[in-house]
């Protein structure tokens, strides 16, 4: 394990901590983004370190970084953006309806007809 991967796991569990502890919906969505970013870092750190050559062009140097994680992470970033956008839109709706962005309070308001 290199330093990037260890850092990524620490950041991932920071995001998990945020999901478990915070009652604010906004902070839950932020924690999701933090976790997502941590996974991207983990993938890229596993693909190659700072000294490996970039896998670009037709003549790829021997020992170049693995291109697959990089290609996959572009997809993961796109999906992450879409998820965050939809979640934030829903949050705006909920805030307008209930006047709160707290999971507990919104859950209680939900019980009322």
């Amino acid at each position: 394990m290199n330093i990037g991967e260890i850092g990524a796991i620490v950041i991932f569990f920071l995001g998990v901590y945020g999901m478990v502890v915070h009652r604010n919906i906004m902070k839950s969505i932020l924690s999701l983004s933090v976790m997502d970013t941590a996974v991207i870092l983990f993938f890229l750190a596993g693909g190659g370190s700072g000294s490996t050559a970039a896998p670009i062009g037709t003549e790829i140097a021997a020992g170049a970084a693995d291109p697959i994680p990089q290609a996959l992470m572009i997809t993961a970033i796109v999906i992450g953006v879409a998820v965050t956008a939809v979640a934030l839109t829903m949050l705006i709706y909920i805030h307008n309806k209930y006047g709160t962005s707290n999971w507990e309070k919104a859950g209680k308001m939900r019980e009322r007809p």
């Binding site: 991932f12 999901m19 596993g46 939809v86 507990e104």
Partner: protein, 529 residues
């Protein structure tokens, strides 16, 4: 000629986008064309797969690097079931939602995504489709944009994406260890690996996400909210409960066969039994008909999990047959519940009386589904439950299965109270709705009467149903139905305990914590056991 393997994935998605773009009057016809073409393609695919499994590498790259579509019997059965149910659901909604282009687009896209998850072999692509289908499903849950469903939809989405991120981290670790995402390749190379320890962590992360999708015991809190939310269209509840939740189980089956070298069957056997019993207890406590049905899904998922992890091939086939059966009867029940809610204007089962008189055909098909789900003789549930019990020899296992079935019976005896009673009114139900319910209801009977040949066609597995054993099981069913009625009469009605159970509700943070705990326990089990 056989259509290419990507047809069931891209055809509905393409039609969905087309429907969104085209003028108003074309779209109703077009959505039926799309669903019909999809069903035809899936039937072709199924007939092909019966001869030999089909695979297709996309973009000319083969695994372990490229993405492959792979269809064996199980995948083809699941896509066929998906295509069939979506067509029936469109018929059910032909007079209302089908004329809404947003709904048609989302619904057809969801169909394509579900088929994609069943057909893909590449775990990373499965992750992408899971994320996108979670988005689409949450948009469908909150389709009527009323405040309750907004909360339920957001809850559903955030907790599912949370688990999917676990899945992605698991994939990152898996790729680092093995250099592939292909399930087939993994199944080939992993049995030769001398040290499985580095794979425990990725395995636990991936399985945590699969179990959340399947709503296993501590991870089920999102399911009643998402499936039972009051204002979600009943077809959406039916899809989520009948098909979408099966994605989790399907993923579980695939991962278990890829990671054969890691034996966790005892863990999931216990988790399944706990889920089945707890789901039934929660179902008994509810009085909202949609909530009863959604907790019921939790309980049946537990039963399927038990069947898959018993270590007997017959039971595993029974579990897979139960996946198909559950999709059929749960769809009828949710559709029927939707009609009842529209007609009576309430979801409280104590305020609903005389469904038999008011809408006899809907009531008959719902009763067929109830007989199926409780495992009454001649109906489809009895065949799958017979297969599940086939190899149980110890008394503890037998008693647990009996307990699960009695729990199911008690909750459905409570549920069927609403069929009786007098009412003069006759309801006018749109013909498409009645037809859809009747078709699925009669399938519940047909798949029971022709159980053995159907299992042979769907899973290629020869079963013999021993008449004496089946008769014995039928007697056991009658006895347990009787005792379930007694339990309902004397221990369930108007007891304060059940009211307290009804109030149990996991908040968001508790649900997130339960995901972390489940992951921790599974990891601990792997390293210590």
């Amino acid at each position: 000629m056989m259509p290419p393997l990507w047809t069931p994935v891209l055809l509905p998605v393409g039609f969905g986008i087309l429907i969104y773009a085209l003028p108003e009057r074309l779209k109703r016809a077009l959505s039926f064309v799309a669903a019909g073409a999809q069903l035809a393609a899936c039937i072709r695919l199924f007939r092909q797969v019966c001869i030999a499994p089909v695979s297709l590498s996309l973009g000319g790259w083969n695994p372990p690097v490229g993405i492959m579509l792979y269809a064996d019997r199980l995948a083809a059965t699941m896509t066929l079931l998906t295509a069939f149910l979506f067509l029936v659901l469109l018929v059910f909604e032909a007079d209302r939602l089908v004329s809404d282009k947003n709904f048609c687009m989302l619904f057809l896209i969801l169909e394509g995504l579900l088929s994609g998850i069943f057909l893909l072999d590449d775990l990373f692509s499965i992750f992408i489709l899971i994320e996108v289908s979670t988005l689409v499903a949450s948009l469908l849950i909150m389709f009527r944009r009323d405040s309750r469903s907004m909360y339920d939809g957001l809850f559903y989405m955030v907790i599912n994406i949370f688990a999917a991120t676990f899945f992605l981290l698991g994939l990152a670790m898996l790729y680092k260890q093995t250099g592939t995402f292909s399930l087939q390749t993994l199944a080939r190379i992993l049995p030769d690996a001398e040290n499985m320890k580095p794979l425990y962590l990725p395995y636990a992360l991936i399985l945590t996400a699969a179990c959340l999708k399947a709503a296993l015991m501590p991870l089920f809190s999102w399911l009643p909210k998402a499936h039972g939310t009051p204002s979600a269209p009943s077809v959406v509840s039916a899809v989520l409960s009948g098909l979408y939740v099966k994605n989790g189980i399907y993923l579980f089956i695939r991962c278990q066969s890829a990671f054969q070298a890691i034996d966790t069957s005892t863990f999931f056997l216990i988790a399944g039994a706990v889920t089945a019993i707890a789901g039934a207890v929660f179902a008994i406590a509810q009085s909202d008909i949609k909530l009863i049905l959604s907790y019921h899904t939790v309980s049946q998922i537990g039963l399927i999990m038990v069947a898959l992890n018993m270590g007997s091939e017959t039971a595993a086939v029974g579990g897979m047959y139960h996946i198909v059966n559950h999709a059929l009867f749960k769809t009828v029940l949710f559709l029927g519940a939707g009609v009842i809610i529209d007609e009576y204007g309430t979801r409280n089962m104590y305020d609903i009386h005389g469904v038999f008189r008011r809408m006899p055909l809907i009531a008959v098909s719902m009763v067929a589904a109830i007989l199926g789900i409780t495992g009454a003789p001649l109906f489809n549930g009895s065949i799958s439950k017979y297969l599940i019990q086939h190899d149980v020899s110890d008394t503890l296992g037998g008693a647990a299965l009996l307990l699960i079935n009695v729990g199911t019976l008690v909750s459905f005896i409570k549920f069927s109270g609403m069929f009786f009673g007098n009412t003069r009114k006759k309801a006018r139900v749109f013909a498409g709705r009645t037809a859809a319910c009747l078709l699925l209801g009669s399938l519940c009977l047909a798949l029971g009467v022709f159980g053995a040949p159907v299992v042979k066609i769907l899973f290629g597995f020869n079963i013999t149903i021993d008449p004496v054993g089946y008769l014995k099981k039928s007697l056991v069913f009658l006895l347990s139905a009787g005792s379930a009625w007694l339990i309902y009469r004397f221990a369930v009605r108007d007891r304060a305990f059940w009211k307290r159970v009804r109030k149990v509700d996991f908040g968001f943070n508790t649900s997130a914590l339960s995901v972390v705990l489940f992951f921790a326990v599974l990891t601990g089990y792997l390293f210590l056991a």
